[in-house]
Symmetry: C2
Subunit: 189 residues, 2 copies
Amino acid sequence: MNYPSLNKEYHTLKESYANRGMNLENLINETNKYYIDKDIAIIYKKPTPIGINKVSYKENKQVIREAYFKSPSTLDYNGIYKGYYIDFDAKETNNKTSFPLLNIHEHQILHMRRIIKHGGITFLIIKMCNNYFLFPGEKLLIFIDNNERKSIPYQYIKENSYEIKEGYRPALDYIKAVDSLIKENKNEN
Amino acid sequence: MNYPSLNKEYHTLKESYANRGMNLENLINETNKYYIDKDIAIIYKKPTPIGINKVSYKENKQVIREAYFKSPSTLDYNGIYKGYYIDFDAKETNNKTSFPLLNIHEHQILHMRRIIKHGGITFLIIKMCNNYFLFPGEKLLIFIDNNERKSIPYQYIKENSYEIKEGYRPALDYIKAVDSLIKENKNEN
C-alpha cells in the first residue's frame, strides 16, 4: 500500500529541478494540477483513509493524537475527463519480470469491475523497468479471470498497455493514453 | 466544515433502530452502501484530508501521533451513476429562513463550476427545516453570480431543488432526484 510519508505530503516541486527524484505519485499529482490549471481534466487523489482513536483540543482546534492508516477500498485517483468518469491507481514495482498482484487488493479489483460495468474508465498507471504504462482495467480483469498466477508477466503488461512518456510539463501526460482507451472501448461496443 | 467525530466514524446501524438518530452524513453513507449492494450507483465518501506532523512505529506498524484536519478542496462524495460523473456534498443547517453560504468554501464552488463545465452532475444535499433537498449546482451558481447576499433564502432552495424523502431502505433515496436533474440538464442543452 502506498502510505503517504511526511516528505511526500510536504514535497514542493522547484521547476528548475523538473522531475528529478519525483516518485510516481508525485508525477501524477503534478500532472493532475496541470490538467486542472489548463482545464483539461478534473482529477484528484483521494486522501488516505485513516481511523482515528484519540483527539484532543489545542487552542480550540481538534488535534489527532492517535490514528492509523486504513486500506482503501477504492482506487486513489478519480474525477472527470470529457464527461467520462475516470478512476485509477498508481503502482510501482522493482520487479523486472512480472507485476505482483499482491499490489492490488481484492476489493480494488471488485471496484474496477463495478466501474467498467457502470460505463466508467478505469486503469492502473504502472511504473516498471523504468517505463510507464496505462494498463486498462479490462486487460487486468481478463488476466485475473483466466490465470491462476499471482503476478502478471511484464510482456503481457507491455503488449496490453498504452505507454506514457515522462516529460517536463506535464510530468506524466497520461491523458493521451486515456483518449486511446476511450477510443478502443468505443470500437469494442 | 463537517469533521468526522469518533462516534460518526465507528457508528454501525442496527437495522431495528432504522434511521433513528442518524445525521445526514450517516443517512447518505447508508444509502450509498445500498446503491453499491444493489448495483445502482458506485458512489463513495472521500476520506477527510489530514495533514500529518508525527508518525511513530508500534509493532512494525505506523501510528499517527499528531495530525490535523485540513479543509477539503473538492466535495465529499463522488462516483458514477448511469455513466455520469456524480460529485456532491451534504450540508445541514439549523437556520430556518436561509442557508448560510459560509457552509461552502470558495474552492468548492470553483470545483462545482469545473464539474459542470466538464459534463458532470454536481449538487448539494441540504437538510433544512427537517426537509431534504437535492439542490443542483447550476442553481447554486446562478444564485451566487447574481446576489451579494451571504445566505440563500429557504424559499429559493425549496423552489429550485428536488425534494428527497427519508425512508427505510435506502435511508435517503436521492438517486431519483439525480434522475430528474439529468433529465432537466438534457432538456436545457
